[in-house]
Amino acid sequence: MPSLRRAKPAAAQSTDAGPDTPPLLTPAELAAQRRKRRTGTLIATPGALYLLIFFVVPLGLITVYSFATRTSTGRTSLSGWNLNSYERIADDVILGIIARSAWLAFLTTVLCLVVAYPFAYYLATRPPRLRARLLVLVMIPFWTNGLVRIFAIRFLLGSNGPASALSEAMGFGTFRILFTPTAVVLGMVYGFLTFMVLPLYVALERMDWRLVEAARDLYASGAKAFWRVTVPLTRSGIVAGCVLVFVPSFGSYVVPEILGGAKTLLIGSYVARQFQAARNWPLGAALSVLVIVAMLVAVAINQRNSANAERTQGVTR
């Protein structure tokens, strides 16, 4: 949720002033400031320490592992640092897996955008009370157990599951899409659609519709007003939604494991394998580092985008 990451309110910045504020503080004020600083440290420490031990250290460890050597028995030898694992990423097989993951994630993102934009538009243009109710209906699947939802798709699409039975009864014959890339994309769209709907909805709901009205008054056609006014004004929502769908799709593990087959090995499953049967921890670590870097880039794009949006929104208001 990119909106949560917004800059802090101005009030916070003015109340706790740092040492760079003008001098002329009385000793009492200085003491109070120091006390406040100490309280802050005290409150933050337990959580920060926990994150340091159970997140930052593991992050560092996996980076270290990516430069380690795999011994012939499948153990990891933490000596003789090298770039072998990174060099192996250039291998055709692995590049193919990365390309496939990116391609399926891209398809998922496009499909989500195409379906979610008109949907969010519809939601945002309902009267407030209906809107609130429809939003609850959107939120329920969003918070519902993701594994169970993917399992539902698996069950529905199964070779002799309800969908197949229905199509047979209607005379279309059996259909087999389970264990194909189509099923994986379908499952990812199903799993991540709400990540697209919510930022688009927020952007459309916040939009100043009077600008669209103005465009119409100036004889812009409905389509022109949409493409030249509505879409640019909701750009931040579009970018945020695309990032929020692309990132988990790219690193997805559960969906391809349940709905995919041999031809849909994606990077998430490939990383998992290196830590399971294949026992090549350094390679798995190197791929994880790659995924993390890619994800950080995507998030950075989103950050810049939402910062820009805030500035433009300040103007339109």
Binding site: K8, R37, G47, F55, F151, G251, I258
Partner: protein
């Protein structure tokens, strides 16, 4: 959006009502509506089908043989399911309690105070949310492997199990709680705290009597999110679980790979019911109160 002036908001909504309905073409409106129905159907039909078929009496998942709760009985009689459920509940409850306390403290510190390392913490706290599950899972696996190696040299032998799953869940839940509570702190009316201080309340008393009650819904929503996420998690649990202890989602995940059974339908429906109950509870908590100015 409480900061928005009332008048402008009404004007905007009015523009919505004229453009959203009369302004768009009739065919476009029908298309929008059809698309909305399609999306809702897409979101709900698979779930409903699953629930309906969980009451199917047949051994074979695809043949309808009549209504029965037979598979619920089998699922609840399965000792593996029950022990996995026990692990899930222990992990979910313990990780929720710890992460709610730590996450709320982090949110408060980031929102109110300047201290050394504040920016570093501010940047780090979001990472567990955006990082893909699988990378977080392998990071923690490597971490625990190294820690166990260290401990082994001292003496006692440790293995992966309930404790490691819970420790991992706390690691990602702290971030989620911190983000939710901080969102609540963002819309906080600071003058109320100033008023309490002006009336000679001590900082602690101000916190207990003013701050805490005001952010309580945010904390509760954060705790419910943590509980939901912990009960939902598959990937991180799968990598930090040992041979002796798996969670219910991990059990379901590994069973699905061996094929769909009616018993899995029943377990899934039970999990679905639990998570929908939690969602509804948290939506009720997050609903903005009309009393806030």
């Amino acid at each position: 959006m409480p900061s928005e002036p009332r008048a402008s908001r009404d004007e905007k909504s009015q523009a919505v009502s004229t453009l959203g309905t009369a302004g768009t073409k009739r065919s476009a409106r029908h298309l929008l509506k059809a698309n909305a129905w399609f999306v809702f159907a897409f979101l709900y039909v698979p779930i409903v089908v699953l629930v309906v078929f969980s009451f199917n009496d047949s051994e074979r998942v695809n043949v309808w043989q009549g209504l029965s709760a037979r598979w619920y009985g089998e699922a609840l009689g399965n000792t593996q399911v029950i022990s996995a459920l026990r692990v899930s509940l222990i992990v979910a409850i313990s990780s929720t309690i710890v992460s709610t306390v730590l996450g709320t403290a982090v949110a408060l510190a980031l929102d109110r105070y300047r201290f050394k390392g504040r920016r570093a913490l501010d940047g780090t706290v979001y990472l567990p949310i955006v990082i893909p599950d699988i990378t977080m899972a392998v990071m923690l696996l490597v971490f625990f492997a190294e820690v166990f190696k260290l401990i082994d040299t001292i003496g006692p032998r440790f293995t992966l199990g309930v404790t490691t799953i819970a420790l991992s869940h706390i690691a990602f839940n702290i971030s989620f709680v911190a983000v939710v509570v901080r969102a609540r702190l963002d819309q906080f009316d600071r003058t109320l705290e100033e008023a309490a201080r002006d009336l000679y309340a001590t900082p602690w008393r101000t916190f207990r009597r003013v701050t805490l009650p005001l952010i309580a819904p945010g904390i509760a929503a954060g705790a419910l999110l943590a509980l939901t996420l912990s009960l939902d998690d598959v990937v991180i649990s799968a990598f930090t679980a040992g041979p002796g202890a798996t969670t219910l989602p991990v059990y379901v995940f590994s069973s699905i790979r061996q094929g769909v059974t009616p018993e899995l339908n029943a377990i899934s429906t039970l999990m679905l019911t639990a998570s929908i109950t939690l969602v509804v509870a948290s939506l009720a908590l997050q609903r903005p109160r009309s009393t806030t100015p």
